[in-house]
């Protein structure tokens, strides 16, 4: 047989994925340095990366549970090149330009706090115990733009059950990687964000079936700029709650601090539920621009309460003053 099966190749001969993924970056970097060219962002480092295809159950057409919507998907290229991931810079194109520096393999997640099984777990071990499925969710950024994205992942609840939280676990806190040597935005001296980025959910929000831990989009592993290798997606909240590149999950008794709330408490709350009736202090939240848009069609649409997931999640907030708890 000319082509060896994977079982015949000793693991010592296999190029580590992190080096393999960077090979084109090295070559294109050298060529660009030599030619003094600047490439348009579509050819930026990392676009030539081959992302692993994932094995998952495709989304069913049933939208009752909220796992599917028949709205137009935002094209893959747009999902990959328009990101808020300030760890790589504050321009929308910065993550696509610079996230290639991030090593996502090996990756482990630290589980700590009010759980029966704390520890440091390799991501691949965590993934062995769950089934991946595709979910088509709307994502609404607090900046009043939105996308429709086909994520691949599993319910956060499935992960939480693995670690046996005890009765004191009322909240789940998340933390993003802090690695300034790979995440250049974390070196910025004029950024007012205190790294690492942190977020949190109430326990019932975390256990809700809609809450997704995503490892892929459009059927392939997450591009670095989208929060590889594992990120949260909470579709009824503003996008900044959907924390990326998670390294720590902590179960707590008290409400945990969240980065944007610490930065500007009057503008970003803990709950951050999408709510057209509660304006951001600096702009209205009553409408949004569905991307991609064009100069001739702004795709402006009305924002729905809970980003259109009211049927699935409104009961979590029954009786709560959503203006006070924004």
């Amino acid at each position: 047989m000319l082509i060896k099966s994977s079982a015949e190749i000793p693991s010592s001969e296999i190029t580590p994925e992190s080096i393999y993924l960077k090979r084109r970056q090295f070559m294109s970097g050298a060529a660009i340095a030599a030619a003094g060219l600047s490439l348009p962002s579509s050819l930026a480092f990392g676009e030539s990366k081959d992302l692993a295809a994932l094995t998952y159950t495709p989304a069913g057409k049933d939208s009752a549970a909220g796992f599917y919507t028949d709205e137009d998907l935002t094209p893959y290229e747009d999902v990959k090149r328009y990101n808020n991931f300030y760890e790589f810079g504050t321009d929308k194109g910065d993550p696509a330009r610079y996230a290639d520096a991030l090593t996502v393999d090996p990756w482990s997640v630290t589980i700590e706090g009010e759980v029966g099984k704390p520890g440091v777990y390799a991501l691949e071990d965590i993934l062995k115990k769950v089934d991946l499925e595709e979910r088509i969710y709307r994502l609404r950024c607090v900046e009043a733009w939105s996308m429709v994205i086909p994520w691949v992942g599993f319910s956060l609840a499935d992960l939480i059950k693995q670690f046996e939280p005890n009765s004191k676990a009322k909240y789940v806190a998340f933390e993003t990687l802090h690695r300034p040597e790979e995440m250049r935005g974390q070196l910025s001296r004029t950024s007012s964000i205190d790294w690492p980025y942190v977020e949190g959910l109430r326990m019932d929000e975390a256990m809700h079936p809609l809450t997704l831990l995503a490892v892929g989009l459009y059927g392939k592993a997450l591009p670095n700029q989208n929060g590889a290798p594992v990120r949260l997606v909470v579709p009824w909240k503003y996008g900044f709650k959907s924390i990326k590149s998670i390294v720590k999950i902590r179960f707590t008794e008290q409400q945990p601090p969240t980065t944007w709330n610490m930065l500007q408490p009057k503008e970003y709350g803990f709950y951050a539920n999408v709510n057209p009736q509660v304006d951001h202090p600096r702009w209205s939240q009553a409408s949004e621009r569905r991307l991609p848009s064009s100069l001739f069609s702004p795709n402006r649409m009305l924002t729905l309460p809970f980003n259109g997931y009211a049927e699935q999640v409104a009961s979590l907030y029954a009786g709560m003053n959503l203006r006070k708890f924004y």
Binding site: K92, A144, S191, R282, S293, R300
Partner: protein, 197 residues
């Protein structure tokens, strides 16, 4: 230096041409309306800084030839600021009057920006010889409004930043430096400094 005014005009239009070309090739990204808002805004600020830089450069560097272009540069401030307003009105406010009023009343940074733009109009409309002759000394007083406009624009930019203040700080610093160049005490220091050397 004697750059013909039409050349300055065409070069000053390039930022607009460039963004329209980018829009037509899809290089503005999936939210081109927002990109246009930001692009026209920063260029209005750029032309504002250039306009305010003319007098100090003339007085301190002796570049008298720059005076010819000050009016055109000033008009381009109004031009890009108006495009900026139209973009905000179209892509962020959806042409809805009710939304506009609400935003003006409830968003201080937007109100500051709108006021700065409104103040540019009397300056733009009186940017001609006829107005200069008719208004006489009042023309000079009216056009000193550009200092207030400069401050409002710097505040507008700083106020809309969400987390990384670098760009807004750099622009504010340049604005303050150009305004400080008008302070009589500063002017004297520079004159004394030049006389010594």
């Amino acid at each position: 230096m004697n750059v013909p005014k039409p050349v300055v005009l065409i070069v000053s239009l390039l930022p607009l041409v460039w963004v329209l070309v980018q829009a037509s090739t899809g290089s503005l990204g999936p939210d081109p309306g927002k990109a246009l808002v930001l692009h026209t805004g920063i260029w209005a600020f750029n032309f504002l800084l250039m306009t305010l830089a003319v007098t100090p450069l003339v007085k301190f560097a002796g570049a008298r030839w720059l005076f010819r272009y000050r009016r055109m540069l000033g008009l381009f401030v109004w031009f890009y600021a108006s495009l900026h307003f139209i973009s905000v009105w179209t892509y962020l406010l959806g042409w809805e009057w009710a939304v506009f009023l609400e935003e003006f009343a409830e968003r201080p940074y937007m109100a500051v920006g709108i006021i700065a733009w409104l103040l540019l109009w009397p300056l733009a409309l009186t940017s001609n010889r006829w107005a200069q002759r008719t208004l006489g000394r009042r023309w000079q007083a009216l056009h000193r409004l550009i200092y207030i406009i400069g401050l409002l624009v710097a505040i507008h930019f700083i106020w809309l930043v969400r987390s990384d203040f670098f760009e807004a700080m750099v622009y504010a610093a340049m604005m303050l430096a150009l305004l400080a160049a008008r302070i009589p005490w500063i002017k004297r220091q520079v004159r004394v400094g030049r006389a010594r050397y």
